[in-house]
């Protein structure tokens, strides 16, 4: 009954939505406002004035860099939120005490394949991060791949060994790496060129601009990977 009612209501909701979206500028047309207003400048001048051949990268790191600054802050918020929700409660509290499940040993085949592939996956992730300004991809995509790699490897080699490599303080710094890189570059832009997150525009400084783009991509990659791995561990530990 409740389901039928909801379905009926949603159909009623869908009708005005469909009516309205049907009147949007036609899909795929090159004369609609999104194509004639702001984006032509990005497409024509992006690679020259913003510094990356991939115009999407120009938009996310340069023209609308502050959005991405906010975006990496959102992931950092997610990390702080997950830790604030999951940390620091005794394991045996509550009716469903965390029955310690016997960890089934990882199959040797899987272990072998992971060890074999890990260097190549890492290489691919670094390629994705460093090439974000000329091809699809970039910091966050590469970071997700590294994060996945870290997760898989720690499942194989055991987490305590992996954690021993990076002390707690350094881990916390790595987790904040993405927004911190943004803030550093933003302030450098403010000091050198007068605006927060301003990139050099003169041709002489093109090398500096590329360096900054790559620095940001690397910051996002490292920070994203650290956060994804930490969230996974914390959720798995609970």
């Amino acid at each position: 009954m409740k389901r039928a009612l909801t379905a009926a209501l949603l159909v009623l909701l869908a009708l005005p939505l469909l009516y309205a979206v049907a009147q949007l500028p036609p899909h795929g047309s090159a004369s609609s406002p999104p194509y004639t207003h702001v984006s032509p400048r990005y497409l024509e001048r992006g690679p020259v004035e913003a510094g990356a051949e991939n115009v999407v990268t120009d938009v996310i790191l340069n023209y609308r860099g502050f959005d991405t600054n906010g975006e990496v802050t959102v992931i950092f918020t997610a990390l702080a939120a997950v830790l604030a929700v999951l940390l620091g409660v005794r394991k045996d509290a509550g009716p469903v005490a965390g029955e310690p499940r016997a960890m089934s040993p990882v199959s040797p085949v899987v272990s072998f394949v992971v060890r074999l592939l890990a260097p190549f996956v890492a290489l691919f992730a670094i390629y994705v991060i460093l090439n974000g300004h000329v091809s699809p991809g970039g910091g966050f995509q590469g970071g997700a791949i590294i994060g996945a790699l870290v997760i898989v490897t720690t499942v194989i080699v055991g987490r305590s060994q992996a954690e021993a490599l990076v002390p707690a303080r350094a881990r916390r710094l790595l987790q904040a790496a993405a927004p911190l890189t943004f803030v550093c570059i933003g302030i450098a832009g403010l000091l050198m060129f007068g605006d927060y997150l301003a990139f050099p525009r003169v041709a002489d400084l093109a090398w500096l601009r590329t360096a900054w783009l790559i620095a940001i991509e690397m910051g996002i990659g490292v920070g994203g990977a650290a956060i994804i791995a930490t969230i996974f561990w914390t959720m798995g530990d609970e």
């Binding site: 869908a14 979206v21 899909h27 991939n54 992931i75 469903v96 000329v134 699809p136 966050f140």
Partner: protein
């Protein structure tokens, strides 16, 4: 109107997916299932916004050698990159909450939780 809708079939599909997701969020009782519904809604909106940036016969806006116009609009793509990250952040928090709720209450069905309150 139907003709226009046919041209804008991508938008119409997004509206459909949005409603499917909303249906799941409202009617499903299991918290994880509710969240799968929310993820469907999210990707419906993302599909809608990316579709705003599509141009007939457009290529990816990457200005390497041999690239020729028309290019798809980079702005909606940039927005949705942010959107996807926001969505995964929300998912991580929601699932952590679900794990905690299960640990403390022994169930993740909304009606049983309501009785417990």
């Amino acid at each position: 109107m139907l003709g226009l809708l046919w041209t804008n079939i991508d938008y119409a599909a997004s509206v459909g997916l949005f409603c499917i997701g909303l249906y799941c969020v409202i009617t499903k009782n299991n918290l994880i299932k509710k969240f799968i519904g929310l993820n469907i809604m999210e990707s419906a909106i993302f599909a809608f916004v990316v579709a705003l940036g599509v141009v007939d016969g457009g290529d990816a806006p990457i200005m390497g050698a041999g690239a020729r116009p028309p290019f798809t609009n980079p702005i909606p793509q940039a927005l949705i990159l942010t959107g996807i990250v926001v969505a995964v952040s929300t998912t991580a928090l929601a699932l952590s909450l679900i794990i905690r709720i299960y640990r403390q209450c022994g169930t993740i069905e909304a009606d049983e939780l309501r009785e417990m309150e």
